[in-house]
């Protein structure tokens, strides 16, 4: 199977994000980046499928030059090669604009399967994979925890709400968006990191893909969330704060 794993580079989970001076986006100076976690699971699923059924895993990512680092991480974990859609204005494109870039880059490869995380940890739109499927005219299903190859295509385990699941069968080629936690993530080995340096990363300029970048939906401003409740912060040493909390829970909130 030829599998494309579409991954996104996002600010590290614990990174302190600040609003930039224009109030339109986050301040990217000094930010540390990492592979989007659900995408890491999509890549893992791709690598495991290849190990079972043979084939090739291609990492695909769109973004500026810094994305190269996350692509190398994917190669170090075992992907065979990569496509980097070089794009400096990713944040100003909407979900359709980004999906068009990815779909255009995927077309030429004619893969059997496209895997991506169910959502990104930065924008959290949770749409890219589903739109890519629509643009390519492929069947899809989302929130997938397990993928099994069958004679006629795929059998997948889909997460529903409130602890329910469902099996779905679908033909290939197909697009699946992967939920975190369905399998264990591997680490890159030293040998893998070494090999990654020699693997092919094809650079494609977003502007050369000839897709419409005009957004249908625009992000006008970003801001800190309004607090939904007024939180009483209890100060002091751990011991003092703990004592104050128990006091409050007993006599103010009356829940103990």
């Amino acid at each position: 199977m030829k599998i494309i794993a579409a991954i996104k580079q996002v600010p590290e989970r614990d990174a302190q994000v600040r609003i930039d001076s224009a109030g339109k986006w986050i301040d990217e100076a000094d930010l540390q980046y990492a592979m989007n976690e659900p995408d890491a699971y999509a890549l893992e699923e791709a690598l495991q499928l290849k190990e079972k059924a043979g084939g090739e895993v291609i990492v695909l990512s769109a973004g500026p030059e810094r994305v190269g680092q996350t692509i190398r991480e994917g190669l170090a974990k075992g992907a065979d090669r990569a496509i980097h859609v070089v794009c400096d204005d990713l944040a100003s494109r909407d979900a359709l604009g980004v999906a068009r870039l990815l779909a255009e880059a995927i077309k030429a490869e004619n893969p059997d399967l496209i895997l991506t995380g169910l959502q990104s940890e930065d924008l959290g739109l949770g749409q890219t994979g589903v739109i890519v499927a629509e643009l390519l005219g492929l069947p899809h299903t989302s929130l997938i925890l397990q993928v099994e190859k069958t004679d006629s295509g795929l059998k997948v385990k889909r997460e529903l709400e409130e602890g329910w699941f469902q099996s779905i069968e679908l033909p290939t080629p197909a697009v699946l968006t992967i939920q975190s936690g369905g399998t264990k993530l591997r680490y890159a080995t030293l040998m893998g990191i070494k090999r990654a340096k020699t693997k092919e990363v094809r650079m494609v300029n977003a502007t050369d893909l000839g897709v419409n970048a005009a957004p249908v939906v625009t992000l006008d401003a970003i801001m800190l969330p309004k607090k939904q409740k007024s939180t009483q912060i209890l100060d002091g040493s751990a011991k003092e704060a703990a004592a104050a909390l128990v006091e409050k829970l007993k006599f103010e909130a009356r829940v103990l």
């Binding site: 930065d122 989302s142 829970l249 829940v255």
Partner: protein, 326 residues
């Protein structure tokens, strides 16, 4: 101007989140300009339930191939309905099912879903969260054509009187719409839903819950929070990553993919408060957060907070609770 409101079924009734989406729709248009849509193979009882409210009309989108949800079936059916009705807005509850097909449906007509919206202001300007709930963004629909919106669970309260949907005074008209769908169009074959494993703990009825998140760092550290839960006589729960790692069983997971809880006390230890977690617990009577990051979104819903190292605060709290009980 007209609005399509796509309602979802849960256990034979219109889902709670669908009614919340209905409350949100009133920010865009008065109820009599809203067309409520129910979808399935047999939709009579859902349509009747929807018609108890003062919608402009209710449309039953019915076809044998819509008996079970598939993205292909729903996209084909709703695409045809949109062509017929030419709505200005199409509004959904932000459910897992909607996430599976609404982006594709929007794309089919060159549109983009504004998903997981928590507020709608004049403009309209839609607010949604990002960066794991640390920031809000204001979004606008820029192009022509219908605007697709999905509404986050819990963001709009249909039981609050001033935003409540009015009851129907007379009979709300119910129309039938029969989309043409061919079996070959439906490419996925869904199976019956099943439960992951037998439930042995019912977090939903627990009065006190101590819940643990990524901040605990390693499975070896879990006894720290277990001790606190034991001292309080509370159930132990967790955010998704803890259960993904297998440190606690899935049935103890709180959030959109786990259980929804509303105890008297919800004590969140080392949980940053991603949206998916908050929707499962923000109805709790009293919320306490212990986290080292003062900007963690969990503090937005907390009544009491301790900003500090959980490895110091939790043992101190356990001792205090024990002492206060003896």
């Amino acid at each position: 101007m007209s609005v399509l409101l796509v309602l979802e079924e849960r256990g034979g009734r219109i889902s709670r989140t669908s009614w919340e989406a209905a409350a949100a729709v009133l920010r865009l248009a008065p109820a009599n300009e809203v067309t409520a849509v129910v979808i399935g193979a047999q939709t009579e009882s859902l349509a009747n339930e929807a018609a108890t409210k003062a919608f402009g009309k209710v449309v039953r989108v019915e076809h044998p191939l819509l008996a079970h949800y598939t993205s292909d079936g729903y996209c084909a059916a709703l695409h045809q309905l949109i062509q017929k009705e030419s709505p200005a807005y199409i509004v959904f509850p932000h459910s897992y099912q909607v996430r599976d097909y609404a982006p594709a449906l929007a794309c089919r007509i060159g549109q983009v879903l504004i998903g997981d919206v928590i507020d709608i202001a004049d403009g309209p300007v839609f607010t949604r969260q990002f960066m794991q709930g640390r920031l809000n963004g204001s979004y606008r629909h820029a192009g022509g054509g219908p605007c697709f919106v999905s509404v986050q669970a819990g963001a709009f309260r249909p039981d609050v009187p001033d935003i409540a949907l009015p009851d129907a005074a007379g009979a709300t008209p119910i129309e039938a719409f029969a989309p043409s769908i061919d079996a070959a169009q439906i490419r996925t074959r869904p199976g019956e839903p099943f439960r992951g494993s037998a439930q042995t703990v019912d977090l939903g009825s627990a009065q006190l819950i101590v819940s643990v998140g990524r901040g605990i760092r390693e499975a070896e550290n879990l006894p720290l929070v277990q001790d606190l839960a034991t001292a309080l006589g509370a159930e132990l729960a967790a955010s998704r990553p803890i259960c993904d790692n297998g440190w606690l069983p899935m049935e103890r997971q709180v959030g959109s993919s786990g259980q929804s809880v509303a105890p008297k006390l919800y004590l969140a230890v080392g949980i940053s408060g991603a949206i998916q977690h908050l929707v499962g617990m923000k109805g709790s009577q009293c919320i306490v957060a212990i986290n080292k990051d003062p900007d963690a979104p969990i503090f937005e819903v907390a009544d009491y907070g301790i900003v500090g190292d959980l490895f110091e605060v939790v043992p101190a709290l356990t001792e205090t609770v024990k002492a206060s009980k003896s």
